[in-house]
Amino acid sequence: MEFIKPGTKINFVGFRRLAFFLSGLVVAASIISIVLHGGLNYGIDFAGGTLVQVKFKEPTLVESIKNQLAPIGLDRSLVQRFGEKRENEYLIRVERSVSDLETLSLEIAEALQRGYGKDGVEIRRTEMVGAKVGKDLRKKGILAIIYAMIGILIYITWRFEFIFALGAIVALAHDVMITVGAFSITDKEFTLPIVAAILTIIGYSLNDTIVVYDRIRENRRKMRREPFGRIVNASINETLGRTLLTSLTTLIVVVILFIFGGGVIHDFAFALMVGILVGTYSSVFVASPIILAWQERK
């Protein structure tokens, strides 16, 4: 079986102006969304606060949970269903403005047990992160992404050329921006595991990019007479089968994770799904054409 027949010659580099325009548009949309939302919707990992995950024996409603929390002054906290409906699980999140975080989760537990009975409610998870720790983690997260990019820049420069590394980094920045943007547009919470997902996307998208680069390097030796544009195009076409196949197998497992992984993993898998799609696109339409655009300018 073959998805891409040998000898396929799609003129990818010919689309590069359109691709650059499209990418620019989506990246711009991401940035605008983040600005309009007033920054990312940070989870408690980064913003600080308290999160309690509770499971009820009987089905209940967000409103009645809030009513139970009213006596302790928490009726305005964020209550949302978690996972599937039949599981009766809810997340209660309290913002950092509440001063005494240390005993908050205990108060929430007691308030709910008064309303639903001791056996009617199970506290499955509590997380409390101080504002100071949240700030630390935010800084560390950004640093981690920057360090990963620098490490990759150095490695590719060593293995290929600096301009290749630059193309890869632009493609990576593109992938990261769009994934982060997708979180902003869907108003999903940005948490610690999402940073892990983004770093994975960086590694993954690079994987694709390098396979194409590797082919360009090889074809440059074989096709010395040909213009650079044709070398790039031939390389992308020759590796297209593999690019699609690997993306597909990875996508299969990520979709499975998205469906079966459960609450915490759900958003993580969502980030990977977006990242893999965007990453595959960028290694074909962004990373290599950028090198070409650079060469043409000279």
Partner: protein, 520 residues
């Protein structure tokens, strides 16, 4: 070599699958099971900050009392000895300043003069603690807090706790399998400073509450909870500021039951404490002595007679658990400074089980789909890649057990991701082999060419992913670190299985002549 490594992985994996290995084999084979992270097995992750500055402040407060008495004894006249800015002393020295300076230098070398102003009638002097000394005190406070918390956790009884310092003033505590996280927090986070102070019975509490607290007195409360309604009331006590004794001189604390089967905590002092308690009770018969823990008055019994046996008790309306925990913190000693909880994550055991089930389900479904897909797309070669893939999973699990790494929920996600990516190396190789075949090479030459041409690509592509994984490991806390670990192990394992294992299978099939043409 391939067989050797696979066997090693299986041996390391065995304890996780079949449980404990008994008898002779149990002695020579590794027994480490795959270590589950707190998010999977349930438990508690705490980050505490030791407020070390408070240790310095309470030290300065203690010096203030001593200094006052010493100066009086030496007939150096000083007024208004007060603590300011938390850790400095301000005082007004009358008469010869030289004598005062000499006295401080000889008797309180840890104090330094920060400022001195000649106000005509007196010198206004501000003293501060020597910087080096303050630093030492802070470091000591953190070390001591670590030790004390370790003691408390040990006595509380948690299997495999991990308590370690983080940075300069933080403590990381991991308690797997804790069922009642709130109780654990109360046990770990409480300062547990036990103090004995006399009541000031010459002066009315009501008068003091109006704001007229005598200079050497203070007001503390007793917290009373009605066991039926749960309502809390606070009873005020007017106490002398001077602490007569602290929990430092305790030798032991045990839970006992009174005649009504009500638990109380029996205290036993060490010889020094017994002597102090003897002296205090002898001098204050018929007066009331308050027993105070963390600024909460537990009881204030009347001293009926001199007590010389070195024993006392703390009563209160305790539940058995409360009395037990109180005895533990008293035995383990007080924290030298209060701690603040910066981060607290606790997961109940049932949630962890759910997550493992869902994770396993995802691994199995994802794995089967990928395996089937490879067989359809690459036929026999795909099946070979599948063997490599399954081996890959075994290697990852074996490595996790062997390296005593921790499997977390994101770690499971990492494994699933590796399944998807592990086929990549094989895909690269197979696509190359197809190209070689199209050029009209023999099967043997095509396989050789495919592997050697794909080698560099595979290396380059995986090294960059590895860079991201290593950065992730450096940056990450608990769960994220778990992801980085499985991802890194997965990358190395997939390199090995693709470049050596599937290659070896091809070689065997080709040389034995079982395979004339590769179906790919």
């Amino acid at each position: 070599m391939t067989l050797l490594i696979t066997a090693a992985a299986l041996i390391y994996l065995a304890p996780s699958v079949v449980g404990e290995i008994r008898g002779f084999l149990g002695k020579i084979l590794p027994q480490d099971k795959i270590h589950l992270g707190l998010d999977l097995q349930g438990g508690m992750h705490l980050v505490l900050e030791v407020e070390a500055q408070k240790a310095v402040e309470s030290y300065v407060e203690r010096i203030r009392g001593d200094l006052k008495e010493d100066l009086k004894r030496k007939r150096i006249y000083a007024h208004r000895i007060e603590t300011i800015n938390g850790d400095q002393l301000s005082l007004e020295v009358l008469g010869e300043k030289g004598r005062f300076d000499e006295f401080i230098e000889n008797n309180y070398p840890i104090l330094e003069e920060i400022n001195a102003q000649d106000q005509g009638k007196y010198f206004k002097v501000i003293l501060g603690m020597n910087k080096k000394q303050a630093e030492y005190l802070k470091r000591y406070a953190v070390d001591q807090a670590l030790e004390t918390i370790r003691n408390r956790v040990d006595q509380f009884g948690v299997a495999e706790p991990d308590i370690s310092p983080q940075g300069t003033d933080r403590i990381l505590i991991q308690l797997p399998g804790v069922k009642d996280p709130q109780r654990a927090i109360r046990l770990i986070g409480r300062t547990a400073l036990l103090e004995f102070k006399l009541l000031d019975e010459e002066y009315g509490v009501q008068e003091a509450l109006k704001g007229n607290v005598p200079e050497e007195d203070m007001i503390l409360y007793q917290r009373r909870e009605d066991p039926k309604t749960g309502s809390v009331s606070r009873v005020p006590f007017l106490l002398k500021k001077k602490t007569l004794m602290t929990g430092e001189v305790l030798k032991d604390a045990q839970v006992r039951f009174d005649d009504f089967n009500q638990p109380y905590v029996a205290l036993e002092f060490d010889p020094r404490g017994a002597k102090m308690f003897d002296r205090i009770t002898a001098a204050n018969v018929k007066k009331r002595l308050a027993i105070i823990l963390d600024d909460n008055v537990y009881s204030a019994p009347v001293i009926q007679e001199r007590i010389s046996g070195g024993r006392a008790q703390i009563t209160g309306a305790f539940t058995l658990d409360e009395a037990r925990d109180l005895a533990i913190v008293l035995r383990a000693g007080a924290l030298p400074a209060p701690v603040k909880i910066l981060e607290n994550r606790s997961v109940g055991p049932s949630l962890g089980k759910d997550l493992i089930d869902k994770g396993l389900k995802s691994v199995i479904i994802g794995g089967i789909l990928v395996v089937l897909f490879m067989m359809v797309y690459y036929k026999l070669s795909g099946a070979i890649a599948d063997v490599a893939l399954i081996l890959n999973l075994i290697l990852i699990m074996g490595a996790l057990a062997g390296l005593r790494a921790t499997l977390t929920l994101p770690g499971i996600a990492g494994i699933i991701l590796t399944i998807g990516m592990a086929v990549d190396a094989n895909v690269l190789i197979f696509e190359r082999i197809r190209e070689e075949l199209r050029l009209g090479k023999t099967t043997r030459a095509a396989v050789d060419g495919g592997y050697s041409k794909a080698f560099l690509t595979i290396m380059d592509a995986n090294v960059t992913t590895l860079i991201a994984a290593v950065v992730l490991f450096q940056f990450g806390t608990g769960p994220v670190k778990g992801f980085a670990v499985t991802l890194s192990i997965g990358i190395v394992a997939s390199l090995f299985t693709a470049l050596f294992v599937s290659r070896a299978i091809f070689d065997v099939l080709l040389t034995k002549g079982m395979l004339r043409r590769v179906s790919i």
